[in-house]
Amino acid sequence: MFIFLGRTIKFAFQGFTRNIWLSVVTVVILVLTLFSVTIAAGINIIAEKAIESVEQKVDVSVYFEPDISEQEVLNVRYRLEELSQVESVGYISKEEALQRFIDRHQDDPGIIESIEEVGNPLGATLVVKAKSIDDYPTVLSMLESDSYADLIQGKSYDDNQQVINRLSDISSKVQRIGLIVSAVFIIIAILIIFNTIRINIYTHREEIGIMKLVGASNWFVRAPFLVESMLYAVLAVVIAIAVLYPLLGVIAPQVDSFFAGYNFDLVSYIHGYLIEIIAWQLGFAIVLSFISSSFAIGRYLRV
């Protein structure tokens, strides 16, 4: 078994170095494929995170009439909390609402004086957060029912829908372009690997014939070509990571400034998933190489 493995790896390296320029071109194409797929996936993740962050800021503020008692407000709060679509309901009392109002208008003595004259004109407020952006219509329709008409003074629903729509639009466009570019590179990579293995089989045809004559098993003949294609995949991943990782340091400040005020940090996100990203790239490159080299071996190496 060790002899088989040792010779397979040795032959694979020989195949790699014998047609070195062809091997280099194959690795470069695989690296470009990994770039395009990784960048497309990265943009997709950033867009998703952006939408998620914006969505997290969406809520409905329900302003109650000033004369509504705390108990009545809390009753509405309990009913809202019973809805499966509701994530949380925050309560701001009349007094707290007034304090916040005063704090906001510290520099406007006219408003402060008016407040002192009329007393607290504000009612309590409930801040409703739904589980998903799509759940807000359900929450709003409940609040619009007749039973609450006399209690509620108004609602503010800043749904950020425009921002979300724009982000989704940009994201889906970029994703589509990324998918097309990636598909083109994947097809090129499959063809290049196929051709490289085919040329290597041709280069080794005499050796393969002799191996068959003296009784080499199918796997003994085929395995080096498969391992050689795996070698392309591993090298391509190493190069792709070596180039993409420093690039991350360059683009991270731009991405992070885009997310200023939101809970997203690109560098720590990538660090958190680094092993998965490398494993994913390796898996992708190996599967790609395996498929195309298997086709070439099946087509040109019938033993």
Partner: protein, 223 residues
Amino acid sequence: MALIEIRDLKKVYNAGEPNEFYALNGISLSVDQGDFLAIMGVSGSGKSTLMNILGCLDHPTSGTYMLDGEDVGKKSSGELAKIRRNKIGFVFQNFNLLPRMQAVKNVELPLIYEGIPPKERRQRAKHMLEVVGLGNRVQHKPSMLSGGEQQRVAIARALVNEPMVILADEPTGNLDSKSGHQVMKILLDLHLQGRTIIVVTHDPTIGEYAGRVIKIIDGTIKD
């Protein structure tokens, strides 16, 4: 029981097409352990096709081929590779040596595929090179050897796995008469030691070394 038993063997190319061609047309043959058989025929007679089938390098279209009691026609390609590795040794006109490898490494090849440890296979390969008179050429690459020496390396490689039968296809075809005689002398010695040798040739002088000669014409045996 015969070592090789073939019955009504046919090999048809382009079957059912207008250019259908019978390379072998109903060959029956029996070879016993220890025989030295020469299969003679002109170019295109079907002798190399027969050699390829006997060597498990090709499948017959119909008929049966029993080698050492086993029906070779029913074997998978992996099993055929094992038969080639363990039961058959090949010697070809163009030697079929790997040019990048030294003589000893060429001889080691079948042992590598058999999974023999490096030390043992090196010893066995060297011993086999000594048997064919090339004990002083173990480190030489094929390009540093004469045609006769290269063919002797090929014979050493054919013998190293202790095969049941040695198949030689025009073994002297690329050699001068002196080297050719040396090669045939080695094959004759091996026969005298009890080995089964089958030589395919168009050269009548080669037939003189064999104990038994069959002639093949247009894919059939003519006695």
